[in-house]
Each structure stands twice: as structure tokens, then as C-alpha cells.
């Protein structure tokens, strides 16, 4: 059973997945950020591989990618950093990014290196279903990597069923048809989450895009197994904030002080 599936077996509500950009804020802060997230209550980590033209991301995450790239982050550097990841990181880790850099690295080599580093799954928003099924999915499966598809409020029920069938780990429900970082009214979105809930999908559902505080996190968790936070956390790291302190403050704002510090104690044992 994959680390991700195991997590959802253990915990099926209020699962918190936090996105961070590899090489941001500093080239060598990748593991420090991941550790801080784990210690302060993140159940999963989505590690962004910076790209020059991240179509599905909003300006805040794109700016963090630009910083990471100018810090010198590359996939080769990233896999170097992740080589010893599993010595300190116990939570599941997904790599999120775009097809072009991955193809340049070589898709098979990429999957092999990710699996060797202890990465559990991939999110590649610009990989279409057909190419996944015919070309790339089998390579991921061979390496034991989960793959997570996205769905939006405009995705038809048939298509939701289709990508649910193809996804493993969880399904990524985009909370509004927007690039990350756009604030939209959660209330508007809840009907959509409820629809997903009623579909009784094979995979757990995490709601992403637009989650920024305790209120939006809890609203998302009412109809889904948890949520994904990206832009709001990247904002918290901007401007040279101390990674540990900023992460602690940010996650206790999302989870409440008790849960966040409880997590810290647990992982300290």
C-alpha cells in the first residue's frame, strides 16, 4: 500500500496537504520547509518543481518559482536534495510540476529518481488523460508512484468518474475554475464539493486552490477529506521570514494552536 493510501486509511477527514516550491525561499531551504510543515501538522507535502511557464498557477506561486529558478533550482539539484529526505520526512510527498522540464529530464529517469528518493506520487496538471493512459501512466505505475488528476466544477460527472478510475492516492478538486491564489467565495463552492461527496468516488478528495485560513479550510473539509493550501503558505514565506517560525504561525492559524503543537510533539518523539 502506498504511503498516501495508508495515510487516508488512518485519517479520512481534515487531511491537510501543503504546497511549497522546491528551492524557495532559498536554494537549500527545501528540506527545512518540508520538515517545518511536517512538524507543524501537515499530513502531506506537495513539492512544486519550479517552471518558467506555470500555466495552472497564479502569480504568487509563479513568483516563488521565478525565485527558485534564479536560486539555481533544477530537477537534478532537487533530487540531490531529496536523496536523504526519508531520514527526516515521514509524511507522504508528491511532486507537482509541468511536463516540459520532466520530459527534458527524461520521463523514465524522472520517475525512477523520484521513487528512489522516496517520493510517493505525482501531480502534472498538463498531462492529458490519453497520454497518461497510453504513454506515461504505465511508467509511473512501474515505479510505484501514485498519480493525482484534477477536477473542477465544470468537469462532467462522466469525466470525474473517468479520472477517479485513473487516479490513485487522491483526487484533487480545484475549488473554483481559477488558477491558484484567486479568492472566491467558499459558499459558492460548497455545492460542488457536496456533489463530489455524493458521487462516492473511489479516491479520497482533497480540495485545493483558494484555501487560505481556518474558515476556508474547515468549509472545504465539511464535504471533502481535506484540503490543499498553496498560495497562502507561499505568501507566509515571502520577504525573508524565518521558515520555522513562519510555518508554525501559519499552520496554527489553519489548524488551531492545539493541533499544530500536538503534531509537533508527536513527531518529536
Amino acid at each position: 500500500m502506498s504511503r498516501i493510501t495508508e495515510l487516508f486509511k488512518r485519517k479520512s477527514s481534515k487531511v491537510l496537504n501543503v504546497y511549497c516550491t522546491a528551492g524557495f525561499p532559498r536554494l537549500d531551504s527545501t528540506l527545512e520547509v518540508m520538515k517545518a510543515l511536517q512538524d507543524n501538522g501537515a499530513d502531506l507535502i506537495e513539492l512544486g518543481m519550479p517552471y518558467s511557464d506555470p500555466l495552472a498557477d497564479g502569480p504568487v506561486i509563479q513568483a516563488s518559482s521565478t525565485v527558485a529558478l534564479s536560486n539555481g533550482m533544477t530537477l537534478a539539484t532537487l533530487f540531490g536534495q531529496l536523496a536523504r529526505m526519508r531520514e527526516s520526512i515521514g509524511v507522504p510527498v508528491l511532486l507537482m510540476g509541468y511536463m516540459n522540464p520532466v520530459l527534458q529530464y527524461g520521463f523514465e529517469r524522472f520517475c525512477a529518481d523520484a521513487a528512489a528518493a522516496g517520493v510517493d506520487g505525482l501531480i502534472l496538471p498538463d498531462l492529458p488523460i490519453y497520454e497518461f493512459e497510453t504513454e506515461y501512466g504505465p511508467v509511473m505505475r512501474k515505479c510505484g508512484l501514485d498519480f493525482v488528476f484534477l477536477v473542477t466544477p465544470e468537469t462532467s460527472p462522466e469525466r470525474i468518474r473517468q479520472v477517479d478510475g485513473l487516479s490513485s492516492g487522491f483526487l484533487y478538486a480545484v475549488s473554483s475554475s481559477s488558477t491558484t491564489g484567486k479568492d472566491k467565495d467558499m459558499g459558492e463552492q460548497e455545492a460542488y464539493f457536496a456533489r463530489l461527496q455524493q458521487m462516492q468516488l473511489k479516491n479520497p478528495v482533497l480540495v485545493g486552490f483558494g484555501i487560505r485560513d481556518r474558515g476556508t479550510f474547515e468549509a472545504a473539509c465539511r464535504h471533502a477529506n481535506g484540503a490543499i493550501i498553496g498560495t497562502a503558505y507561499i505568501r507566509a514565506l515571502e520577504g525573508g521570514a524565518d521558515v520555522g517560525a513562519a510555518t508554525k504561525k501559519f499552520l496554527s492559524g489553519i489548524l488551531g494552536p492545539a493541533e499544530a503543537s500536538g503534531a509537533a510533539k508527536k513527531s518529536a518523539i
Binding site: 511557464d53 497564479g58 502569480p59 520530459l103 496538471p125 492529458p128 490519453y130 468537469t155 480545484v174 481559477s178
Partner: protein, 401 residues
Amino acid sequence: MIKERVSTSPDERGYYGKFGGAFIPEMLYPNVEELRRRYLEIMHEAAFQMEYRDLLRDYVGRPSPLYLAGRLSAKYNTRIYLKREDLNHTGAHKINNTIGQILLAQRLGKRRIIAETGAGQHGVATATVCALKGIECIVYMGEKDIERQAPNVARMKMLGAKVVPATSGSKTLKDATNEAIRDWINNPVDTHYIIGSVVGPHPYPDLVARFQSVISEETRAQLKEKTGSELPTHVIACVGGGSNAAGAFYHFLEEGEVELIAVEAAGHGIHSGMSAATTQLGKPGILHGSRSYVMQTEDGQVVEPHSISAGLDYPGIGPLHAYLFDSGRATFLSATDDEAVAAAFELTRLEGIIPALESAHAVAALDQLQLNEQDTVVLCLSGRGDKDMATYMRVMEGGNI
């Protein structure tokens, strides 16, 4: 007008050989899928065809003339016909596509149009058809290009478009395209994205090629009238994303004896680090939703190209051209900034035609061909030089380009 031609069209997933496809995030899927499902059916409607043809004739001024350039021909000891897209309303071929797409958008019930632009030609052509139809228009343009192309920015504003600066990344055409795509993601229901070249996810490359194919359709008929044969020996066109070239090649693609010559922008020289010659410098990759040649670093980061002509300053190329390059059906040449400028002055002095800098690249390629008096060359003069007068004036003043 738009004939079905099997081998010029991509397969049902939008592939030309191994290039093309629709590598898009799920957030774009409903928009792109709606377009994919409906574009052919709408384009084949008699009422659509009638309105499209009428506008091309009465509003754009088509057919554009096929002009036998006598003094230019004499210089190269051959027969050179210029396909005068520069005489179209708004000054370039871009409007063939925007007319078609605005009619398509109307039939899809869209009330808001977005577009990207580099030099501003496609932005002006889009703003023009939006004014014509009374539809809201938003044009994304790199912050740097807004500074470089002030007259076209003013034209778009006068036409009622909102020009939004793209401030991310390198602040040029590729970033304007990213911003337009993001806008589309955020407005999935009421908005149509009028892309300006044969790039982007399927069905855009095919859609735009079909609208531009009027260029070669007319050329065949005009050649027949002037020479007795529908077929030239050579067709030459410049390539940014590749829409004027796609249109100029389209109805000759299956005529193996017609040499197709695509001219890319070499900038300061192919290996100068300041170039936009995508087939020479790029590797297969994915940019703006399709698999094609992409100029990129070893790590797969898209690099910023350079060309004196903003319309050729793009790090990718349409998937059809990637296929034509790979298969050898078309020959890819390049012209440097200096060669293009020299060619622009030469054409101006020989024929009294001031070309756009983009089109001047195609003219510059004449020097690289072995032509003789038996040949019939069609050169797609994609646009006029009004927008480039600031550059030409600097040259005349003896300054640096």
C-alpha cells in the same frame, strides 16, 4: 472556401505526426473541449461561410493581390510574386484569423474576447473585429512590448480594447500568452480566447491554419490566371508561431513538387544567444499546450528568444511546422536582424513597398536560394511596415538598430 484536406489536418487528438496534442490543465478542458467539438461543424455551416467570405471581401479587402514584383524578380533573375497580405485592413494577415474566430465566438455564445499580442498586430486585429461586433475585448501584452510598440497600443485603445500588461517572467509575448490562458481559466463560461498563431492546444493550430488557408487558396487561383499553372516552384514565408506560413503553404502541402520555405528569425545570429530560430535551437517539448519544438535550457525552462521583429520573437513554433520540419516537407532557413533590415530597405527601393520587419525576413531568404528564370516564387508579404517605422528611422539616422 475551406476545403477538407486530410493530410494537412491533424488527427483527432490534434497530432501532426508526434507534434501537437492538447497538454492543458483540467481548468482549461471545458473551454478547449467545447471548441474542439464544435469548430468544424460551425466552420462548415453555409451561413458561417457566407458571413466569413463577405467580411473578407468587403471589410478586409480580399482577395489580396498577387503582385509580380518586376524589379525584385530582375535582381534574382526569376519570377517573384508577392502575396500582398500587407494590403489587408489593419495591415497584416492576422485579421484573416480574427474575423473567423470572432464569428466562431459569436456562434458559441461568448460575450468576452481575450487575446495575446507581441508586436500588437494580432491585438489590433482582434480589437478591430471586437469593435466591429460590439464585443468586449481584453488584450494581454508584455510590459516590455507595451513600451516598444506604443502606436499599436494606442490603436487598440482607440478601438475600445483594454490592454493589460503581462508583468510576469520575461514580460514579452510568451508571458502575455500565459496571462491570456490564465484569464481563460478564470472565465470558463463567457469568454473566447482568440489565439494569434498556429500554436496552443488542439484545435487551435488547425483552426487558425484553416482561417489563414485563404492565402494559398487565392494564390492558386491567381497563379492559374497569371501563369496558366496553379503551382509555383517555391513558396516563402516568415515564421513566428507560423500562421502566415501555414496559410501560404496550406493548399500546396500535398503538392510535393512545390518547395515550401519557412524563414525564422536568427536575431543576432543563430549561435549568438540572441536568436529566435526555434527549429535550429529548440528541442521537442511542450509549450502553451502543444508538443512542438521549444527553445529551452537543458533543464527544460523556456528561454527568452530575441528578434528585431516582435512578431517573430517567440520561443516556440506551431506543431504543424514542427512536423513539416521533421519530415523534411518544408525547408527552414533563417535571416538575422541585419539581413531583415537590409531586405526591408531593398524591397522598399525596388518596389515601393515598405514591409513589416517580420515579412522582411522572408524577403531576406531570397539571397539564400538558387533561383532561375524557370522558377515561379510566391513570397507571402505578411504585413506592412508602418508599425516598424521607428526602427527604420533609427537605421536611416545611422544609429544602432
